[in-house]
């Protein structure tokens, strides 16, 4: 989280935010041709007459992409239109080879959904309505070679024609922090569904934000007050959720200052577009011209309308799997863990949840398994990088370690050392336990050890006798030195019992 404050209750305004999110669908091939959508190939190697927009070429819809989009829309609680069509959005740009983008205008394939985000720490909870989700083709990429001094622009059309879902929210978000939280939730959902990898660095997820302020004005002369609204600003060029939050914080503050200086309200000037300059940490105005485009939408005559039957919707729904919200509740309920713990686990993705459930089943105690997941598995996973599938320790091994701790073979901190050793050495748990000289201490040995300690520490014995039980702690450190395998809890209890038994 940013250290800068989000909209606080004390602010004299409410920040009102709506988001437009473009998500690349995880398909093998493009939306209207058979070219690969793989990221990172040499420029213009994944192209054909159709995605190059060559004269005479025609688009043919990729039904798999459409079905994937339907899955995303269902997960966003949208209504799926039984009949949808394609439209052309006309504009000139060198990386748009046909001079138009095939998109959806007045009959998007889905609309009227919502996605709720609940901050696990209780900072906010917000249900955001989704106006529409539609499908369109991506444009190519322009690479402006300004460094070479020639200001040449090179075009890579590998991306042209990649399926994009555009998700448009209502302006329901009330702080930059909420916006970031909601984007995290949206990303998690889409990754869970296998709809998109949502990789912002590779451009598979792009966000534009619309923001303005609602400022309550006091009434004059006993009249009721009203809400003043600042002009809406669209922010572009944000390349991470963190920059979305930062840009919104900056923009809200900027609009507040501007309001105080000018008192200009919404409707008194056209909607403005500003670009986020990440290194500078500010938004800058973009040219007005770019906003006043008339896209001359009309129905795409090269494609036929798409119909979606109830049966197809049911199939898509069945193939969806539990979304994160459902999974969180289910996990908390089944394993008796807190909402916070369930949130942490679910936010790591479906594979990690499966790993956790495997562990919890073996251990038989969800909370213990969750603690080990968060304190040991997740911590080391974050340090090492990579996915849970690549993690070298298995749930079986961790369950083995936990089982030995529970049996009293050794304590948790000793268990952690074993975990770390299994992780680095790749050895079996039993071998690590043996090689570290860890062996269960028999009751007879424990009694002998404790009697030895009591004999050597008359002062502590006297203190405990005198009612200061906490003085026994001094014995545990010594016990560890004499026998590292001794369980501190057991040592303490045994010593107390022996002292009590003393005359």
């Amino acid at each position: 989280m940013s250290k800068q404050p989000a909209t606080a209750a004390s602010d004299p305004y409410i920040t009102v935010i709506g988001l437009e999110v473009h998500v690349q669908l995880q398909t093998q091939t493009k939306l209207f041709c058979g070219c690969s959508t793989r990221f990172g190939s040499p420029p213009n190697t994944q192209v054909c007459p159709t995605c190059l927009g060559l004269p005479g070429s025609l688009p043919v819809m990729n039904r798999l992409a459409f079905d994937l989009a339907v899955r995303a829309a269902l997960a966003l609680n949208c209504k799926i239109a039984p009949f949808t069509k394609w439209d052309r959005k006309n504009y000139f740009y060198p990386d748009l080879p046909k001079g138009y983008q095939i998109s959806q205008y007045d009959l998007p394939f889905s609309s009227d959904g919502h996605l709720e985000v609940i901050d696990p720490k209780g900072a906010f909870s917000r249900k955001v309505d989704i106006i529409r989700v539609h499908l369109e083709e991506d444009a190519g990429k322009s690479m402006h070679d300004e460094a070479a001094g020639t200001a040449d622009t090179r075009i890579d059309l590998n991306r042209a024609g990649t399926p994009l879902c555009e998700i448009v929210s209502q302006p329901d978000l009330r702080s930059p922090q909420e916006a970031r939280g909601w984007l995290n939730e949206l990303k998690l959902l889409l990754v869970y569904l296998g709809v998109s990898d949502c990789n912002m660095q590779e451009g598979s997820l792009r966000v534009d934000a619309n923001v303005n302020l609602h400022i309550p004005l006091p009434g004059e002369g006993g009249a009721e007050g009203r809400i003043a609204k600042t002009p809406i600003v669209e922010i572009k060029n944000m390349n991470s959720f963190r920059s979305v939050e930062r840009a919104l914080i900056y923009e809200a503050a900027r609009q507040w200052e501007e309001w105080q200086a000018t008192k200009v309200e919404m409707g008194k000037m056209p909607k403005q577009t500003r670009g986020w300059d990440d290194p500078a940490g500010i938004t800058r105005p973009q040219r007005q011209k770019e906003e006043s485009s008339d896209y001359r939408y009309f129905p795409e005559p090269d494609l036929v309308p798409v119909t979606v039957s109830d049966a197809e919707i049911a199939t898509a729904r069945a193939a969806m799997g539990d979304p994160p919200t459902v999974l969180r509740a289910a996990l908390a309920e089944k394993w008796k863990i807190s909402a916070y713990d369930a949130d942490v686990l679910v936010n790591q993705g479906r594979d990690l949840v499966a790993w956790y459930e495997d562990l919890a089943t073996r251990v038989g105690e969800g909370k213990v398994a969750s603690n080990w997941m968060q304190q040991d598995v997740l911590r080391t996973l974050n340090e090492r990088g990579g996915t849970i599938a690549e993690f070298p320790v298995t749930p079986e091994q961790v369950a083995d370690i936990i089982g030995r701790v529970q049996k009293g073979d050794f304590d948790t901190s000793r268990g952690r050392e074993i975990f770390a050793e299994v992780l680095t050495s790749g050895k079996a748990v039993a071998d690590v336990v043996a090689s570290m000289g860890i062996a269960a201490v028999s009751d007879d040995d424990l009694v002998a050890l404790c009697q030895e300690l009591l004999a050597a520490n008359p002062k502590i014995v006297a203190d405990v006798k005198g009612g200061k039980e906490q003085a026994a702690a001094g014995l545990i450190g010594q016990a560890k030195k004499k026998n590292p395998n001794a369980n501190p809890g057991k040592v303490r209890q045994m010593c107390l019992d022996l002292i009590k038994a003393l005359p």
């Binding site: 060559l54 004269p55 005479g56 025609l58 000139f92 138009y100 090269d302």
Partner: protein
Amino acid sequence: MQPLELSAVDLVTAIRQGEVSAVQVAEAFLGRIAKVDGSINAFLHVDREAALARAADIDARRKAGKPLGALAGLPVAVKDALCTSDQPTTCASKMLAGFRPPYDAHVVAKLRQADAVLVGKTNMDEFAMGGSNENSAFGAVHNPWDLTRAPGGSSGGSAACVAADMAPAAIGSDTGGSIRQPAGLCGITGLKPTYGRVSRRGLVAFASSLDQIGPMTRSAADCALLMETIAGHDPGDATSLADDVPRYSEMLEKPLTGLRIGRVAEHFGPGLDPEVAHGVEEAFAAFKAAGATIHDVELPHAKYGIATYYLVAPCEASSNLARYDGAHYGCRSSVRPTGEFESPLVEMYCRSRAEGFGPEVKRRIMLGTYALSAGYYDAFYAKALRVRRLIRQDYLDAFQQVDLIGGPVSPTPAFPLGEKTSDPLAMYLVDMYTVGTNLAGIGGISFPCGFTKGGLPIGFQLQGPALSEPLLLRAADRYQKLTDWHTRRPKLAT
């Protein structure tokens, strides 16, 4: 044996039976092109060497007893709006001068598979926009019946080359009459199939919801032969129809007894040349004599056809032609940025498009851009779509009463070159009888039904319901078995 005089059907048979070689046939037509095209300008590109090599290969395969395609050895000229991987494809525009597509149009590929010999690319109105072929960036085509007159358009080169015996068959495209009208003005037979019957893949788009590829030949029987090769479903064209392709050639024989042909009174109203009217009435009489019955039908919204067409087509064209922006396809203005535009990029776009497109193309791009603009869309484009539905419904209603609708192809015979170039509206009216077929997405055929006193061909048009090609071809073929208008040839000074 004189190959130039044989029909496509007879040429294919003669080559198959070894009565004439594919090379002899190719040489005959290529020789004819060399002799007469200087005065006609029907071809933008002739690939003599490739055609002869192709013909030689077919002869060799025939001698070796290997299987041959259905059109083996038949020379076919292709409108320059269809992509050919081995020949330039320019759409008669400076914008695409020198453009070589990396792929063949679906129809071109089918012709090659059928062992047709592609002799060259034919001249046309730029991007298929026009009714006289005067809008070509590479010079007008001259009507073989009178070199001072237009051949019609936009497939004027395809019509003229068949009329002048430079090819026994040609491929055209028809967006508002561009096959039927030049066929009518040049005295040949041209079929505009039902929308979706022939794949549009590789046809450089003018107006996607109206464009349709079809054959242009000397007779209905020859059209039937070509249709068997070029028609059919193409998974690469989402608007292509999945219906099976009938054996058109085998469905021509049945007599016309009982055929109901509709006659629309409005087709004979003001603007129709009396000699054309007379020729068309004679054709109705001939059909009647052949056993058909003639019935009055109404197409109440036909009068809005031209207005509707000149909104729908330019709107789609304004978008289809956006890709020719100077950044692609070579035609880029060499003017250095002057700073008079909002950006150097916009200046490059504007200048390249101003230099690369001809006046008619610019006119239609502007019409379409305007009609699609915010605030005008409902009044123009959306309204045109509503009228288009009414026009389609008119035809559906009419075909409840009759099997086909007959009438003139165009209001006048071939008009002098230059006569209408200064009056775009007069030029648009030459499409008045043909645009309805495209707006309704149905089929139409045009064939000669007489000559004016001045020796110019008069065309007759039959329109039929969706997928009525077998009936359209049969009716035209039966008519041609009873008449000899389609066998007449222009006398060209050589």
